[in-house]
Symmetry: C2
Subunit: 343 residues, 2 copies
C-alpha cells in the first residue's frame, strides 16, 4: 500500500507518462487528459491522491485514458499500454485516501437474500419467493408458471380466501353439530382442532382466523396470514403472491427472494383490456389506478414500507421487456445458479 508522498509522486508520474504514451499513439492533441506541463500535472495528481475523499474523479480520468487506449490499432502497443493501465489502476484503487473500503452491503439484508445462499444451502433452508406485482403486468401468471416449473407450492389471495370461506362454512357446520352433540368423539373436526395445537395445518390455522376477537377481521386475517406464512416457511418451499410476504419474511428473518414485477402503465392498460374481454380503455385506466391505490394502501399500512419502491425488493423486473414466459425464464436462471450447490 502506498502511503508516502514520494511513492504517490512516482505513481502520478506513471499516470502522466501513460497518458502521454496514449497521446503519442493516437496522435491528437485532444486525446490528452493531462495536457499541461509535466510538473504541474504531477503536482495536481499527487494532491488529488492525498486529499480527495473519494476516488471517482481520479478513476474517471484513468477510465478516460483507458477508453482511448483501447482504440490503439497496434496490437502489441495496445497490450503494453493496457498492462501498465491495469497496474496503475490497482495501485490507485488500493490508496487509502482515494477510495473507501466500505461496501453498501447490509449484512442483515444479504443474509436474508436467498440469491446469496448458494454456498450455504442446507436441507433446512427452503426456497421462498415473494412476488409483488402490479395488476395487468402478468405478474400472477409469472408466479403460477414459476411455481409449476419449480414444482413448489403456490399461494395467492384467492387460495387464502377460498380456504377461509370453506372454513367459515365448516365452522357453521361445527356450530350446528355442537347444538346436537358437544361430545368431541362424535365430532372429529372439533376434536382435532383442540388436540393439535402444536403443529397446526394450513386448514387448521385458517380456522383460527375467526377466533381472533378484539381485532378487526382485516387485521386478524393479516396477523394470521403472517403466522401461517412463517410456519409454512419452516416446512416447505413456496411462492407467495403479494400478501406483504416480503415484509413478513424480512421481519421474521427468514431468507427469501423478493421480486417486484411491473410494466409500463400503457402496456398494463392494454393487457387489462385483453384480460377483461371487451373492457374499454377508459375503464381499464380507472381500474388500474384504483387497484394501484388499493395495493399501495394495504402494503404501506401493514409494512411501513412503500409499495413498488425498488429499494424494498432484491430485484424488480419489467415484464414488458421479457414477456410472461421470458420473466419466468429469467427468474429460473437466477435460481438455478442460486441453488446449484443444493444437491
Amino acid at each position: 500500500m502506498l502511503n508516502n508522498e514520494e511513492q504517490l509522486r512516482e505513481l502520478a508520474e506513471r499516470i502522466y507518462d501513460l497518458d502521454a504514451e496514449v497521446y503519442a499513439q493516437l496522435g491528437s492533441s485532444l486525446g490528452r487528459v493531462f495536457n499541461r506541463n509535466r510538473e504541474s500535472c504531477v503536482d495536481e495528481l499527487v494532491n488529488t491522491m492525498l486529499t480527495r475523499p473519494q476516488g471517482h474523479l481520479m478513476r474517471s480520468e484513468l477510465a478516460l485514458i483507458a477508453n482511448m487506449a483501447r482504440t490503439i490499432k497496434d496490437k502489441e502497443e495496445r497490450k503494453l499500454v493496457m498492462t501498465e493501465y491495469n497496474r496503475i489502476l490497482q495501485e490507485v484503487m488500493s490508496l487509502p485516501t482515494s477510495f473507501v473500503s466500505g461496501d453498501i452491503i447490509d449484512p442483515e439484508m444479504a443474509k436474508l437474500n436467498a440469491f446469496n445462499l448458494q454456498d450455504r444451502f442446507s436441507s433446512e433452508d427452503h426456497l421462498i419467493i415473494c412476488i409483488s406485482w402490479t395488476y395487468g403486468c402478468g405478474g400472477i401468471d409469472v408466479g403460477f408458471k414459476l411455481a409449476d416449473k419449480l414444482k413448489i407450492n403456490y399461494y395467492d389471495a384467492e387460495i387464502f380466501e377460498a380456504v377461509l370461506k370453506r372454513l367459515e362454512a365448516e365452522k357453521d357446520t361445527v356450530r350446528d353439530s355442537i347444538g346436537y352433540s358437544s361430545n368431541p368423539d362424535l365430532n372429529p373436526n372439533l376434536a382435532s382442532a383442540f388436540e393439535q395445537t402444536k403443529s397446526l395445518t394450513l386448514r387448521q390455522r385458517m380456522r383460527e382466523f375467526s377466533r381472533y376477537h378484539g381485532l378487526s377481521k382485516k387485521d386478524a386475517i393479516f396477523f394470521n396470514q403472517s403466522d401461517l406464512l412463517c410456519d409454512m416457511a419452516r416446512k416447505e418451499d413456496f411462492i407467495i403472491m403479494g400478501r406483504c410476504g416480503d415484509a413478513i419474511m424480512t421481519n421474521n428473518r427468514i431468507p427469501h427472494i423478493s421480486i417486484y414485477i411491473t410494466a409500463p402503465f400503457e402496456q398494463r392498460v392494454r393487457h387489462t383490456m385483453e384480460i377483461h374481454n371487451g373492457m374499454g380503455e377508459k375503464k381499464a385506466r380507472r381500474l388500474l389506478k384504483h387497484l394501484d391505490r388499493q395495493h399501495s394502501h394495504y402494503y404501506n399500512f401493514y409494512t411501513s414500507r412503500r409499495w413498488g419502491n425498488a429499494n424494498n425488493y432484491d430485484l424488480c423486473i419489467n415484464s414488458a421487456s421479457y414477456g410472461i414466459d421470458g420473466t419466468v425464464e429469467f427468474i429460473l436462471r437466477m435460481i438455478d445458479r442460486g441453488v446449484k450447490n443444493k444437491k
Copy 2:
C-alpha cells in the same frame, strides 16, 4: 381445445374426482376444495369455465388441490394424483374462456432489451449497458468494476465533464492561434475539425458542444451527449453511467440493457458518511435528499419518464442485498448467458 359444454362437464368431473381423491388420501374434511355434493360442484365448475373472463380463480382452486396433493406420503399415489393434476391443468390452461392468450410483452421494448438478444447477436450488435443509480448505493463502483471485468469502455459524468473542460481550454488555444494564423495548414486541430464531419471522434464531438448557439449550455450539452452516445453505440461496447442513457437509447431504438441500482435510504446514508469521511448523519441525509431531487429533476426534464420508477428499466437491483462485488457478479451472470451464443 375444449369448446362444448359436454367436454367441459367431463373436465369438471375430473377436477371434482381429483379433489375427492386427494381428500381420501389426506383424510381431513378440511382438505376438500369442493365440499358440496358432486352435481352442484360440477355445475359451478362448468359455469366458471364457460363464463369467467380470466382463469385466476379456477387456477387458484387447482393450485390449492396441488399444494395438498404434494403432501401425500405414499409416493406411488402422489405421482398418480400429480400426473392427473398436470393433465387437467393443461386442459384448463388451454380453455379459450378461462385464460387470455395475450402476453404483456411489448415487442418494441423486448427488441431493445439486450438480455433477450442471445439468439440474435451479430457482430453489429454492441453490448450497451445503461446504469442509473442513487447516490450512496455504490452504483458508480458497480459500473466501473463491471466495465473493467467486461473490458469495455466506461463513461460517466466526470469523464464527459473532463473532456468538455479540456476542449474548452483547447478552443481557447485554437482561438489564440486563429489570432496569429487563420491558415488551417498551420493549425492542424482546427483543420481536422472542419475536415471530418462524417465520422466525428469522441473528442471532436465534444468540441462541437460549444457550437450550439441558441440553446442553453445545459440543453446543448444534453443534445450533444445524446448524439454522441448514439454515435458511440454504433461503434463500441460500453457502460454509460446516468446521463439519461437508457432513455436516449430507447428513443433511438438502440438495443441495450437498462439497470437501476439503489439501496434503502438508511444504508445509503451510512455509506455516504463512510465515503465522506467525517460527514455527520444529518448532513448526509440532506445531501442525499438534495441529490435525489436533482437527479430526478434532470431525468424527468429530459426524458418525460419518472426517475427510479421500476417500469422504466429492464431490471432494478438492490445493492444492499448483494454488495458492490455481488451486484457486479449478479449482472455478469445475466450477461454471460445473454451473450453466450455470441462467439
